[in-house]
Amino acid sequence: MAKSDVKVLGAWPSPFVMRARIALKIKSVEYEYLEENLGSKSELLLKSNPVHKKIPVLIHNDKPVCESLIIVEYVDEAWSSSGPSIIPSDPYDRAVARFWAAYVDEKLFPALKSIGSGDGAEAKKAAIEQLIEGLVLLEDAFVKCSKGKPFFGGSQIGFLDIAFGCYLGWVRVTEKMNEVKLLDEVKTPGLFKWAERFCADAAVKDVMPETDKLAEFAKVLAKLRASGKWN
C-alpha cells in the first residue's frame, strides 16, 4: 500500500493527533503527515471535516475519518491483521476502557486546561484538586485494568493507554508552568511509573512533543488568548 493512501491532518501540539499517530505506529501503517496551520486551515481539512473543521483527520483511500478515539478504533479494525490489537478483546474490558477514555476527555482534560487558564488563585486551586481527584480514580482503574502488567492494555499499549497517555505532555507542561505536582509518586504510584513507560514506548516517543517546546507553545497560546486573537 502506498504511503499516500493514508494521510493524517494534524498539529504537533495536539494530544488528539497523537492518538491517531500512535495507533498507526502500533499497526505499522505508513502514512503522510500533513501539519495544519490552525490560523489558516487547509482546503483539504475543511473538505474532509466539514462538520467540525478540526484535527486530527485520518484520510484512508480518500475517505475521511474524524474524532480521535473513533480514528483509533478505525485503525484497529481496518488493519486488524497487522500488529497487536488496540482495543481489548473482551466486551466488558472494552466497555471499561471506553468509559475511562470518555472520562478523561470530559473531566480530566477540562480540569487540566483550567489550571493554566488564569482565572485566579481560588479557581486554580479548585481545578488542581479536581484533577488530582480524577487521577486518583484513574490510579484505581489502572490497578484493575493492568492486573499487574505495565499498561492499562496489559503487556502492550492499548486503547486507554493511548486515550489518557496523549495528555501527559500537557500534564508535564502544566506542572512546570504552575509549579504544581499533578502526577504524584505517593498519591498515584502506579500512574507515575506507567507515565514513564508510556512516554518511552516505541509507538509513542517519536510523536510525543518535547515538554520545553510544548511549554513555549503554551506561552504563545496564552498570549494570543489574552489578546483575544485566538478562540
Binding site: V51, K63, E67, I70, Y74, Y92, R94, F99, L137
Partner: protein, 225 residues
Amino acid sequence: MAEEVKLLKTWSSPFGLRAFWILKLKGVQFDFIDEDLSNKSPLLLQSNPVYKKVPVLIHNGKPISESLVILEYVDETWKQNPLLPEDPYERARARFWAKFGDDKVLASIWNAFIKQGKEQEEAIGLAIETLKFLEEELKGKRFFGGEKIGLPDLALGWLANLIGVFEEVIGVKLIEKERFPLLSAWMQEFAEAPVIKESWPPHEKLVTKFRAMREPYVAAAAQPK
C-alpha cells in the same frame, strides 16, 4: 449460568431509553428499575460511583455506565440484529454521528430550550445550523444506519419525541417540515418503528416535567439586571 441483565434508568431520561431500546431490539431478557434521582438507590450509587447517573447496565453483576458505551457493549455481547455495520469505515461514520448527536445536537437544542429573548434567537439559529448536518446525512437513506435502525438512530432517537415536547413548551417550531423534510420523515418513521413506538414516555408528563425544568431559567432572565 443464567443470564442476569438489569437496567437502571428513569421514566424520562432519553439516555436510559437508548439502552432500553437496544435490549428490546435484540430480544434480551432484562429487568429494569426506574430510579428516583432525588433519592438514588444504593445499587445505582454502587454501580456508577464516578458519575452516579443513569443509565447503568448490570450484566451478571458487572456494571457498565455511559449510554453510548452501553450501546456498543450490548451490540458486541448479543450478536443478533447487529446495530453497527461490519465495514470499519461505516462503523466509524456511525460512531461519528452518534457522538455528533450528543456533543452538538443535544447541546444546541437544550440551549434553544432554556435561553430567553435575543439569546434564544441566536441559540435557535445555531441549533438549526447543527440540524442541517443531520438533514444532509439522511440523503438517500431511510435511517442514519441505512435501510434499518442502527447505532446513530438510537443515539439521535430522542429527537423523535422530545423535540415535540420542547417545541410545545417554548412555543417555537425547531424542526419545520419544509426546512427539514428528511429529518421530519425520519423522526416519524423512527417514532413508529416496532419496539420504539411502545416505549415513549407519556407526552403530557414530559411537557410538565420540562416546563418545570425551564422555570428557573425563565425566572433568572426576568430578574432586573
